[in-house]
């Protein structure tokens, strides 16, 4: 198993005919992801890649195909609107890839999702991939993953790939590789993801890739210490980041002396989670503490 979806989950893509949407939809299809529909207003009735029906609205797509999950590739100004639409149409899982979404738009979306029991991943994230189910909801490269027992949570994109690649090369496949996104307000946070991995019996070890800003890693450390028996290792990016500067991700900022890499490392280590000094040390560290 893995988290959030199975090979049976029916997936639709909002913005499937756009530049990014069509590019990544092809890659998702090529991997074997169960994509049943696409949505682009004004393109209803068309077919994507000769096999995926396109609808004008998410509601139409859900009614015709029974889609349960949506992956959003819509420009920033319309991204929150797309999340509302997916939730309103009954999708219980929404993955928003879009980067640059205004933070207050996401603040507005959150209670609407909570009332409807909808899980949001992102925005500004690479989504997730379940190699064992050939399910990819997002933009992660498929050639670096492999099925296996390791779960991975990250706030980053390419840094995640770096570590996933190292895991796969070391023969450590993955249940789910999840990028939760680099924005301050995101749907699924570190803690939510940890709980999901904790409930997944197939995940036998866990890698957490954090970065400066906020206190999600600290809170995750408390959860791991209190609840989890499986080996967990971590890496935190941004030790050299100057305070008060936004390091690309809107959420990656040390403010008022809080959210530093040093604080996070301390919290993680005091919870018994080893923190790698370099990305290349993550896998050896995991192998060291993982008694199989």
């Amino acid at each position: 198993m893995a988290i959030f979806c199975t090979d049976q989950t029916k997936i639709l893509i909002q913005g499937i005919t756009g530049r990014d949407g069509s590019f990544h939809a092809k890659s998702m299809l090529g991997y074997g992801t169960n994509i049943v529909a696409g949505v682009t207003p004004g393109r209803g009735g068309q077919t994507f890649e000769g096999k995926v029906p396109v609808f004008d609205t998410v509601k139409d797509a859900v009614a015709a195909t029974g889609a349960e999950a949506s992956v959003i590739f819509v420009p920033p100004a319309g991204a929150a609107g797309a999340v509302f639409e997916a939730a309103d149409a009954g999708c219980k899982l929404v993955v928003c890839i879009t980067e640059g979404v205004p933070t207050l738009d996401m603040v507005k979306v959150m209670p609407y999702l909570a009332e409807r029991g909808v899980r949001l991943v992102g925005p500004n994230c690479p989504g997730f991939i379940n190699p064992g189910q050939k399910a990819k909801l997002g933009i992660m490269p498929t050639n670096i993953v492999a099925p296996g027992p390791v779960g991975l949570i990250s706030r980053s994109g390419t840094l995640t790939y770096e570590v996933v690649d190292a895991l796969t090369r070391a023969g450590l496949g993955q249940t789910t590789c999840l990028g939760i996104g680099g924005d301050p307000v995101i749907g699924t946070n570190f803690m939510d993801a940890l709980q999901a991995f904790h409930a997944d019996p197939a995940t036998q070890a866990l890698v957490m890739i954090g970065e400066i800003g906020g206190d999600a890693e600290e809170r995750a450390a408390d959860f791991v210490k209190a609840n989890m028996k499986i080996p967990v290792v971590s890496f935190i990016a941004g030790r050299t980041a100057p305070p008060g500067k936004r390091m690309g991700h809107a959420g990656a900022i040390v403010s008022g002396g809080a959210g530093t890499a040093a604080e996070k490392k301390k919290a993680l280590e005091s919870a018994g989670i080893p923190v790698a000094d370099r990305p290349a040390d993550v896998v050896p560290l995991l192998q060291q503490i993982w008694k199989r």
């Binding site: 390419t158 770096e162 906020g214 390091m247 370099r278």
Partner: protein
């Protein structure tokens, strides 16, 4: 994007908050004429995008015109945490009977706008948060309903039991929320919100940070950007749509992805070097973007070596290599360049690089070590 106190005060006024009048001066003469117009005593306040202005001597009380001359003269041109003061706000000095802190920010944990309020006004709130966290009252605002009257009043009465003053505080909180939403802020603070001897509540300081992601729907805010406050290389990067932060080392870094870019800087430091910058070049192999990035980095005379760290992922490495080669051929570059490319088609990419002067590397660690060996050679 951060804006000045006087600009934040304008946004506060638009939301209906009571803010003392004032004007901006760039010379002592202008400061004097403003002081005469407003009537003495006045405050002369440096306008720089840095905290701790008061502590640095950048905020002064002026009883006489001579005081204005002296203090405006000292403050204009003063350096506050690396920022040169180019303008001062001249505003009436208020009598202060009581002062409070009122602030709002986007709270990651509750995923809401969080109201923070404290009777410990006028001091650094970060300090209060550490030393006396119980002195800060918090309320997470439900975005569906806003800050309701009774919610604001409940916080206000805990700040000040005097009901007349509490009503003014509650009203100020609601207007602060209105300003926060109207500006798409990420942070808004009144520190302090004061009551005068006559019991009139006023916001005598103002701070607003704007959400960069929302600037597209506030075209008017472009005019608020103080280009003098921006590092020239950071300005070039912003105009080229690159995410860049200048640092003071000698290893210029071009990386795809923010997390990997931070990890690359960290690795440079791990091996005893110092990164010259943070730069996320994104997933594109477009030579124009690479040229822009190289121009920005090479504009820094400290840079002695360039380090590309690209995790190809879906982007094909040979495409990226072609982009880097095309870009480096279009400009004269005197410092060595180390390129680490991995992912799809990395073998082809390495073959392409082998035909150039660029130094190839297979891993992040190897690339950083090679860059540090080459720095300064």
């Amino acid at each position: 994007m951060n804006i000045h106190e006087y600009q934040a005060k304008d946004l506060f006024r638009d939301a209906g908050l009571t803010v003392p009048p004032g004007g901006i001066a760039t010379t002592v003469e202008e400061a004097l004429s403003l002081a005469r117009g407003l009537g003495l005593p006045v405050m002369v306040k440096s306008q720089v995008l840095a905290g701790g202005r008061g502590k640095a001597g950048g905020v002064k009380f002026c009883k006489t015109e001579d005081d204005v001359r002296t203090h405006a003269g000292n403050i204009l041109g003063m350096d506050i945490k690396g920022h040169t003061v180019r303008k001062v706000l001249v505003t009436p000095a208020e009598t202060i009977a009581a002062e409070f802190y009122l602030g709002m920010l986007v709270d990651r944990a509750s995923r809401r706008v969080l109201l923070m309020a404290s009777a410990e006004g006028g001091v650094e709130i970060e300090k209060v948060a550490v030393e006396k966290p119980e002195a800060i009252l918090k309320h997470a605002i439900d975005p569906r309903f806003g800050l309701l009257d009774h919610e604001a009043m409940a916080v206000a009465l805990r700040l000040d039991p005097d009901v007349k003053r509490a009503r003014q505080l509650a009203d100020a909180m609601q207007k602060l929320y209105k300003a926060f939403l109207a500006a798409d802020a990420s942070l808004a603070e009144i520190n302090p919100f004061i009551f005068t001897d006559q019991g009139v509540g006023k916001a005598i300081d103002a701070k607003i940070n704007l959400d960069d992601n929302a600037l597209f729907r506030h075209p008017g805010f472009a005019a608020l950007r103080d280009l003098d406050e921006e590092n020239p290389s950071e300005r070039m990067a912003r105009e080229a749509d690159l995410s860049f932060v200048k640092l003071d080392g000698n290893v210029g870094c071009l990386v795809n992805g923010a997390g990997l870019a931070m990890a690359t800087m960290d690795l440079v430091q791990y091996y005893g070097g110092r990164p010259a910058n943070f730069l996320d070049i994104g997933g594109s192999s477009n030579p124009d973007k690479v040229v822009n990035a190289l121009r920005i980095i090479l504009g820094d005379p400290n840079v002695e070596v360039i380090l590309f760290n690209i995790f190809g992922g879906i982007t094909r490495c040979d495409d990226v290599a072609r982009g880097i080669i095309a870009a480096t051929e279009r400009m004269e570059i005197k410092v060595p360049i180390v390129v680490r490319l991995t992912g799809t088609n990395e073998a082809e990419a390495r073959e392409l690089l082998a035909k150039t002067d660029l130094v190839g590397a297979a891993t992040m660690d190897e690339a950083v070590q090679k860059a540090l060996e080459l720095a300064g050679k």
